[in-house]
């Protein structure tokens, strides 16, 4: 029974989550949509950040491209929603390949800084593009169907998670992990690092862009500032790191836990909610740098020593 649990539990949770909109209040469904989208973003970031070890701050660019791809296709060209999502996804792949090739040559902080700049630049560019509505943004056709958005977001999260699950047990994923551990050694062992990194970046980008597409149609209004919002990227990272980067379920757990707590805080004491994310990242990095998943695995055996050991091992 214990052995079968990991195979039964996730599908069960998916079924329960899928059934939720039929008996939950509209507020819960709305909360569900935004949390599912965030979990998808965090899971996508996990591919490039958690598995490959490249701390990307450029994922908000993918998100923005997904948002704008969908919005422009629907508003300016009158195309259906699913075509818009496809456009956004394609844009993000093109972006990942074209910019990934030069930017993924940078490592560590340099990669983080370069991708951070990309997000800022994209927002400035889009503000000046006529077809994207410039600074004014675009208004999408209104569609009242939170149930559909909810199920779509859930489906996308499942798809992203299945992809990460595949990564965790495939040759390709093994190659990515080796790049994270030591890129030179991986190259010497016959891993085509450039190709692997670009594919990881593109995979991360596609899921992020599709989530952006759902968000755009759901919110029905897009503008450059919020589409390429860097704080959203920070959120993805916090959620993934808090849950457990480089694990299959860590980013999802991180997203759900953090979203719930921050939502409760926001309603009870709104002034504290802003502080919350900063506090979480500090605590997580110092005491549990491998996230909730690792904590759950090892705290039973180590107890409080788990935290002191982490502080000692990762001298700050």
């Amino acid at each position: 029974m214990r052995k079968a649990l990991p195979w039964i539990l996730p599908p069960l949770v998916v079924v329960i989550l899928a059934a939720l909109p039929w008996f939950a209040s509209p507020t819960i469904i709305q909360f569900g949509i935004s949390t599912l989208i965030l979990a998808t973003l965090s899971q996508s970031w996990n591919i490039i950040g958690g598995y490959t070890g490249y701390a990307s701050f450029g994922n908000s660019v993918f998100y923005g491209l997904g948002i704008y791809g969908t919005a422009v296709a629907m508003v300016q060209f009158g195309l259906p929603f699913w075509v818009g999502m496809l456009v956004g996804g394609l844009l993000s792949v093109v972006f990942a390949v074209l910019l990934g090739l030069p930017v993924l040559r940078l490592r560590g902080h340099y990669f983080a800084i370069a991708t951070l700049a990309l997000a800022q630049v994209m927002s400035a560019i889009v503000s000046n593009v006529q077809v994207a509505g410039g600074n004014q943004g675009l208004v999408l056709p209104l569609f009242r169907g939170d149930k559909m958005f909810y199920e779509l977001a859930l489906g996308l999260l499942v798809l992203a998670t299945l992809t990460v699950f595949w990564l965790s047990r495939s040759r390709f994923g093994f190659g990515l992990i080796s790049i994270r551990e030591d890129e030179d050694a991986a190259a010497v062992m016959g891993v085509n690092t450039t190709y692997y990194k670009v594919i990881a970046f593109a995979l991360s980008g596609v899921f992020t862009a599709l989530a952006g597409g759902i968000h755009a149609y759901w919110i029905t209004f897009v503008e450059p500032e919020s589409a390429f919002d860097i704080t959203l990227n920070v959120k993805m990272i916090i959620m993934a790191v808090f849950g457990g980067p480089g694990s299959v379920f860590g980013p999802i757990v991180g997203a759900f836990v953090l979203q719930s707590v921050s939502e409760i805080l926001a309603t009870k004491i709104s002034s504290l909610a802003g502080l919350f994310f900063g506090l979480v990242i500090v605590v997580a990095v110092v005491f549990m740098p491998k996230g909730l998943i690792d904590l759950r695995k090892r705290i039973g055996r180590l107890g409080w020593r788990y935290f002191t050991r982490n502080v000692k091992e990762n001298r700050l």
Partner: protein, 238 residues
């Protein structure tokens, strides 16, 4: 004389505008152990990187009958030219077993992978006992052993070992040198040893080259080179 496995002709390589290797030529024959010695900054590691395809290079490199000077690193690796990099470069957070499996990354046949693993464990039994431990917790000598074992998992034709003695006690270095000889004798793997430590490098080598400022300045049998007055003066301080 056996056939030439690696033939390097007028090799040039460097970083950006800075040339480190200038018109370097040497060869390694099938079944030999060849040592290439040089002091700090002579271009040893640059040579390794150039041969492995990690740096842009000029001139000709022939390996096992193919011209590899224009090939990408993973192609060269798949031909059987495998490097044990300087400083070992293990995947520290991964287990010994996973590190070894990384060496057989290009092998898609599970059975073959298992066979290679058994052969490596035969050579280094201690790795089998400790296969599930993290590579990062091993001592320097043991890590070097893992690095060599990982390279062997790729079934190399030529094993290039970069600065094996770096930071290791002489006793440990001797053991690793014995292992290299065993690898050559029992498996027929040709070895190119690039070293700063002249004594240990020439103690097991058939032939040797002395590298200085990106050029080969001396070559010959290992015993002759150790006796060479100039080599002794420059590297042994005698």
């Amino acid at each position: 004389m056996s056939e030439v496995l690696l033939g390097v002709d007028k090799l040039g390589a460097g970083y950006g505008d800075m040339a480190v290797l200038l018109d370097m030529s040497f060869e390694v024959r099938q079944g030999e152990i060849v040592s290439l010695v040089g002091s700090n900054g002579a271009g040893k590691t640059t040579l390794m990187r150039a041969l492995s395809g990690l740096l842009p290079r000029k001139g000709s490199i022939r390996f096992a009958g193919s011209e590899i000077s224009g090939m990408a690193a993973e192609r060269i690796f798949s031909l059987g030219l495998v490097q044990v990099p300087e400083g070992r470069q293990l995947f520290g957070q991964m287990s010994v077993l996973d590190n070894l499996l990384m060496g057989a990354y290009l092998c898609r046949d599970k059975k073959e992978e298992k066979r290679r693993l058994e052969r490596v464990f035969e050579l280094f039994p201690i790795l089998q006992e400790r296969r599930s431990q993290r590579a990062g917790v091993f001592s320097g000598g043991e890590q070097q052993m893992i690095a060599i074992a990982r390279a062997l998992m790729a079934e190399p034709r030529l094993l290039m070992v970069d600065e094996m003695s770096l930071g290791l006690a002489p006793v440990i270095v001797d053991k690793l040198l014995d292992a290299l000889v065993a690898i050559r004798d029992e498996r027929g793997v040709t070895v190119l040893l690039v070293e700063q430590d002249v004594f240990s490098a020439f103690s097991i080598a058939d032939r040797g080259y002395v590298l200085e400022l990106g050029k080969i300045v001396r070559e010959g049998n290992a015993e002759e080179l150790v006796e060479d007055p100039e080599v002794r003066r420059a590297y042994l301080g005698i």
